[in-house]
């Protein structure tokens, strides 16, 4: 299988703190990779380095074999291939639900309005928000906002979807609706890279689980390997803490 993303010796410094240290890992087409780890271990930073919201300090990132850190690379075009879902939703406040899902298609991809609306409606249906196209973000619940944010990212028809703790800012009763959408997406063959604290979700849909600790990948393997038979002592401790709660 081809690697869509290859990360080689990635490092990231914030001032004098090395937040990511020599990160190496790949994402294959159609794979669902979950990144778990304690708060502050660098999960978000890694995800943000992958779509270059943070500038890596060292190392290389390859997208379909091309080095995206080289000067020649078209940053904007690359980002359209990486759908990003944020913990805080970050819906565009000046657009309604439909506008959120069409503005990128029209202004960045250059799609015609009708095509953009059609595509947006398709994905709003997938997340069950097609009835709310006229609503403004401020009129939606957290779970609804996050589902729209997922539809917005999907509407760009990206190669890879990046999720940064998409359910962490939600009230408990809304976590389920978002996770269900994500499970459907995972089963549909979408390539996904998900930072999450939802171990049940990771166990159910992840092809691979990456455990991060203090800026390094401490262990990675199939969901079964990581959850049932972790090799590292720190993985075991982390899981005990999480599942103990």
């Amino acid at each position: 299988m081809d690697n869509i993303i290859e990360v080689r010796h990635l490092s990231k410094w914030f001032g004098s703190n090395e937040i990511l240290k020599d990160i190496n890992f790949n994402v294959k087409k159609g794979e669902v990779v979950c990144i778990i780890g304690a708060s502050g271990s660098g999960k978000s930073t890694l995800l943000r380095c992958i779509n270059l919201l943070e500038k890596p300090s060292g190392g290389e990132i390859f997208y379909r074999g091309k080095n995206i850190l080289s000067d020649k690379h078209d940053l904007q075009e690359y980002r359209t291939k990486m759908g990003m879902v944020f913990q805080q939703f970050n819906l565009f406040n000046n657009h309604n639900v439909l506008g959120n899902c069409t503005v990128g298609q029209i202004k960045v991809l250059g799609r015609k309005k009708e095509e953009a609306v059609e595509t947006a409606m398709k994905y709003l249906k997938v997340v069950g928000m097609d009835q709310y196209i006229n609503a403004k973000p401020s009129q939606l619940s957290g779970g609804q906002k996050q589902r729209v944010a997922i539809a917005r990212a999907l509407s760009m028809e990206p190669d890879v979807m990046l999720f940064d703790e998409p359910t962490s800012a939600l009230d408990p009763e809304m976590v389920g609706e978002v996770l269900n959408v994500m499970k459907d997406l995972a089963k549909s063959g979408l390539t996904m890279l998900v930072v999450t604290h939802e171990m049940g979700f990771a166990a159910e849909v992840a092809d691979r689980v990456v455990f991060m600790d203090k800026g390094v990948i401490a262990e990675e393997g199939t969901a079964r390997e990581i959850f049932n038979n972790p090799k590292q002592e720190r993985t075991r401790e982390f899981l005990k803490r999480i599942i103990g709660n």
Partner: protein, 266 residues
Amino acid sequence: MILIERFGVTIMTWKWFFKVIVDYWPMFLRGAGVTLLISIIGTVLGFAIGLIIGVIRTIPLSDNMVKRVILKIVNAILTVYVEVFRGTPMIVQAMVIYYGSLMLFNIDMDRMFAGVFIVSINTGAYMAEIVRGGIISIDKGQFEAAHAIGMNHIQTMLYVVLPQVIRNILPATGNEFVINIKDTSVLNVISVTELFFQTSSITGNVFRFFEPFLVACIIYLIMTLTVTRLLRWLEKKIDGPEHFNVIPGNQMQVARPEDLAKKAGQ
């Protein structure tokens, strides 16, 4: 005695008040027209200047050395512009620009043009700061989400950030507009025929000060109150309806997460 005298003065005043209106209403009207024209154009152009400067001043520094240097120089120039025009009175700016261009460059500016020019760049300096504050106050997540779907700085500004900034700074812009209506009166020092200038001319004809300026006062108040109301209406319009309509769809076709969850729960 005093009471009767006061009463007499009051009657005199009212007589003059109406006489001034009846005799000189075309002059008042023209003056008010010029005042309104200069302050409208000045506010709109100043707003545009402010938006452009605000966008330039928030461009992230590039890694490219040349671009970096150019941006720093441009920013320095803009800072000087803002500080100079915010730090000096408009009445003095009017004199310096009008007579300066005449003496130094031998340009005899049209007075009306000079008036619009001065009000615009003056408003621009204030609006630049207001816009910058407006951009800074927009949540970082809005920028990140826009960048994440592939927008560059200009697209992010045009389609995501500025619409929100404009909505947020509308009250401040209305304030600038009201200030401009009042402050165009200083342009009388370069003989722009706005309302204050016209009123002064009228006082020269009737040899009375109170009544003509009372009329001017009322006209200024009508203009500022109208503008304030109009802007409030515009704000409401931009905000849109308070409620949205749920579009009833054919739910049978769609596996909605709620339905899936319900199914899973059974």
